[in-house]
C-alpha cells in the first residue's frame, strides 16, 4: 500500500477505524482536537458513532458503558483532560474491560500549556486513578509507529480485558509524516461472553462491576488483577535498543524525545564518543530487561525527558544501581535539544 502524508492526530483515528473501532466518545482539548474532529466525520461514514460528551468525565464513562455493551471503543484527550478521565479508567480497569485511550500530552501541572510535554508519565504508568491497577502504555516515537501500535492496541485490550493507553504528545499529534496502514496480524481473541446485550431471558444476567464489599472477594479480585499484570509484564514488553555495545553512556528516552536523543548520538559518534540508547516502547510494562543488555564498561545512564524527570524513577529501578543515573530534560513546552543532550553526555564523561 502507498504511503500517505498525515497529521498524527488524524492518522491515529484512521488506524482506529481500520482496527474496527466504531465508537468514539471525546471532548475538545488542545492539542488533540483533530481527533474528535476527524472522528466526527469518519465514524458515521463507517457505520459507527461519534459523540461529543459534556466533559472528559462523561466521555470516559460513556466508554465504560459502550465497551461493557460490547463495542470497540476509543477516547482521546490531552493532559488536564486525562486527569478527569482517571476516575473512569479506574472503573474500566476494575471491571476488566478493554478500551483504547489516546493522550496527546501537553505541559503541566494544572492548565500548564498547550505545547508538547511528557509530564504525564507518572499518571500513565502508575494507575492514575484510585486503587491497585495498571494499564498498558504504548509510547510511539513516530506517526507510523503510533498507527501500528494503535491498530494492535484494540486486540491487545480485548486479549487481556485491560485499557491500553497510546501516549503521544503535542508534537506527534500535530506534525505530519508519511504513513502506511499495514494490515495487522489477527490474534486469537477469547469470546466476549461477558458483554451486556440483554439476557433474552435465556441466560443469567451479566454484571459489569468493580464493587466487592466482601474483603475476601476484593482481595481475590486484586490477586487476579495482579496475576494478569504479571502475565502482561512477561509477554508484552516492547523496546528498541541501539549501540549498547561499548557505549560509554546509555541514554534512555521515549516518544518524540528519543528522536532528539538519536540525533545527538549521531553527532557524538562523529566526535568519537560512543553513546547508546534504550527506547521503551511500552512504558508499562517497563522494559527492565533492556538494561541487562548494557555493557559493564558503560560509565553512566542519561535519562532524557520532556519533563522535570519522571521516567528516571523506572530507569533507576530497572538499572538496579549498576550505573549512576543522570537526567537531562526540558518542560513547559520546551523540547530537549541535541545540543543539550550532547552537553549532558560530555559533562557526565568529564566526571562532573
Amino acid at each position: 500500500m502507498n504511503k500517505v502524508l498525515m497529521k498524527g492526530n488524524e492518522a491515529v483515528c484512521e488506524a482506529a477505524i481500520r482496527a474496527g473501532c466504531r465508537y468514539f466518545f471525546g471532548y475538545p482539548i488542545t492539542p488533540q482536537n483533530e481527533i474528535p474532529e476527524y472522528m466526527s466525520k469518519v465514524m458515521p461514514e463507517n457505520g459507527g458513532v461519534f459523540l461529543q460528551a459534556e466533559s472528559e468525565v462523561a466521555a470516559i464513562n460513556m466508554v465504560y458503558g459502550a465497551v461493557g455493551a460490547g463495542g470497540r471503543v476509543m477516547t482521546s484527550s490531552s493532559s488536564p483532560g486525562m486527569s478527569l478521565k482517571q476516575e473512569g479508567i479506574s472503573y474500566i480497569a476494575g471491571a476488566e474491560l478493554p478500551c483504547v485511550i489516546v493522550n496527546m500530552m501537553r505541559g503541566g501541572p494544572g492548565l500548564g500549556s498547550i505545547q508538547p510535554g511528557q509530564a504525564d508519565y507518572f499518571q500513565s504508568t502508575r494507575g492514575g486513578g484510585n486503587g491497585d491497577y495498571r494499564h498498558i502504555v504504548y509510547a510511539p516515537a513516530s506517526i507510523q509507529e503510533m498507527v501500528d501500535l494503535t491498530m494492535e492496541a484494540f486486540d491487545i485490550a480485548d486479549l487481556y480485558r485491560i485499557p491500553v493507553l497510546v501516549l503521544g504528545d503535542g508534537m506527534i499529534g500535530q506534525m505530519m509524516e508519511a504513513v502506511e496502514f499495514k494490515s495487522i496480524k489477527p490474534i486469537e481473541l477469547p469470546d466476549k461472553d461477558w458483554i451486556t446485550d440483554g439476557t433474552k431471558e435465556i441466560r443469567q444476567p451479566r454484571i459489569i462491576n468493580s464493587l466487592y464489599l466482601d474483603p475476601d472477594e476484593l482481595y481475590a479480585h486484586n490477586l487476579r488483577l495482579e496475576k494478569k499484570h504479571a502475565l502482561i509484564e512477561s509477554r508484552e514488553v516492547r523496546f528498541e535498543t541501539q549501540g549498547l555495545e561499548n557505549a560509554e553512556v546509555v541514554c534512555v528516552a521515549y516518544g518524540t524525545t528519543s528522536r532528539v536523543v538519536k540525533n545527538a548520538i549521531e553527532e557524538l559518534e562523529a566526535e568519537g564518543i560512543k553513546v547508546g540508547i534504550i527506547r521503551p516502547i511500552t512504558l508499562w510494562p517497563f522494559p527492565d530487561k533492556a538494561f541487562d543488555e548494557i555493557s559493564d564498561t558503560t560509565k553512566a545512564l542519561l535519562t532524557v525527558e520532556m519533563s522535570m524527570g519522571q521516567m528516571i524513577d523506572d530507569v533507576k529501578i530497572a538499572s538496579k544501581g549498576r550505573w549512576p543515573v543522570h537526567f537531562y530534560g526540558k518542560s513547559g513546552g520546551l523540547v530537549p535539544t541535541p545540543t543539550g543532550v550532547k552537553e549532558s553526555v560530555k559533562k557526565i564523561m568529564g566526571g562532573k
Binding site: Y23, F25, V49, L51, A53, E54, S55, V57, A58, A59, N61, M62, V63, Y64, G65, A66, V67, G68, A69, G70, G71, V73, E87, G88, Y91, A95, T196, D197, G198, T199, K200, E201, I202, P205, R206, I207, I208, N209, S210, L211, L213
Partner: protein, 251 residues
C-alpha cells in the same frame, strides 16, 4: 380446597435478599420497575445502570444485565450502552446524591441530547448510604449529619427541584414526579414509570420519573412516621405532577 395465586414476586427481580433498611421504599420502587419491565415484555432486552448510594447493590436485585456506575455517572454510562445497543432498553436507577449533586452534568446532558434512556430518580432528601448527610434535596430546616441545626437557605440554598429543572430541557420527553407513600400513590408511580419506558420504546427521547421515597433510618423516624413525613413535608415542596409528556401533547 382451591387456591388461586393472586400475587407473586416479579420475575424481573432475583431471589437475593434486599439490604434496604426497614421502612425504606426502595424495595417498592424496585418492584415497580421490575413489574413494568415484565409488562412491557422487555426484561430480556433490558440493561440497567446502577448508581453509587443506597441502590449500589441493586445489580444483585434486577434480573437483567446491569452495569454498576461511578457516582453520578449512570446517565453517561447508559449513553454509552444505548449508543452501542440502540435496540435494547436502557435505564438508570439513581438516588438524589448521585443524580442531583455529583451527577448533575451527566443527567442534564443526557436529557439535553435526548438520549433514549429511562431514569428512575429516587429522592429521599438525604444521603442514605453514607449515613444521613445533607443532599441538594434536603428540605429547609431538615436536620442531617452535615446540617445538624437544620438546613438554611442562606447557607445551602433551597432544595433542588430536579423534575422542574429537567422539564425545561427539550430533549426530556417525559418528566413526572410521583411518590410511594400510600397504595394510591404507588399505583400512580407505576403508571408513570411505565410511560417513561414507553417514551424510550417509541424512540421519543429521554424520560425520567422522580420518585419521592422515605429514609426512616436517617430521618430518625419510624417507618410509619416516615410515610407521614414524606406526605406532609416533602410533597408540599415537591409537588406530584407530570411536567412533560410528549406522547399526550402530540395526541
Amino acid at each position: 380446597m382451591m387456591t388461586t395465586m393472586v400475587y407473586s414476586k416479579s420475575k424481573a427481580l432475583t431471589d437475593a435478599e434486599l439490604h434496604y433498611c426497614p421502612g425504606c421504599t426502595h424495595g417498592v420502587i424496585h418492584k415497580l420497575v421490575a413489574e413494568v419491565l415484565v409488562e412491557l415484555n422487555v426484561l430480556g432486552k433490558s440493561i440497567g445502570v446502577i448508581p453509587v448510594g443506597c441502590a449500589a447493590l441493586a445489580y444483585k436485585y434486577f434480573n437483567c444485565d446491569v452495569h454498576q456506575a461511578a457516582h453520578g455517572r449512570a446517565p453517561a454510562v447508559a449513553t454509552g450502552i444505548k449508543r452501542v445497543r440502540p435496540e435494547e432498553v436502557v435505564f438508570t436507577y439513581q438516588g438524589d446524591g448521585d443524580l442531583a449533586s455529583i451527577g448533575t452534568a451527566e443527567i442534564i446532558h443526557a436529557a439535553h441530547r435526548g438520549e433514549k434512556i429511562t431514569t428512575i430518580f429516587v429522592n429521599n432528601g438525604i444521603y442514605g448510604m453514607t449515613g444521613g448527610q445533607m443532599a441538594p434535596t434536603t428540605l429547609i430546616g431538615q436536620k442531617s449529619t452535615t446540617s445538624p441545626l437544620g438546613r438554611t437557605e442562606e447557607h445551602s440554598g433551597k432544595p433542588l427541584k430536579v423534575a422542574e429543572m429537567l422539564a425545561t430541557i427539550d430533549g426530556a420527553k417525559f418528566v413526572e414526579r410521583v411518590s410511594v407513600h400510600n397504595p394510591a400513590a404507588v399505583r400512580k408511580a407505576k403508571k408513570a414509570i411505565r410511560k417513561a419506558f414507553e417514551c424510550q420504546l417509541s424512540g421519543k427521547g429521554f424520560g425520567i420519573v422522580e420518585v419521592l421515597s422515605t429514609c426512616p433510618t436517617n430521618w430518625g423516624v419510624t417507618p410509619v412516621d416516615g410515610l407521614k413525613w414524606l406526605e406532609e413535608k416533602m410533597i408540599p415542596y415537591y409537588p406530584l405532577k407530570n411536567f412533560r409528556n410528549t406522547e399526550e401533547e402530540e395526541a
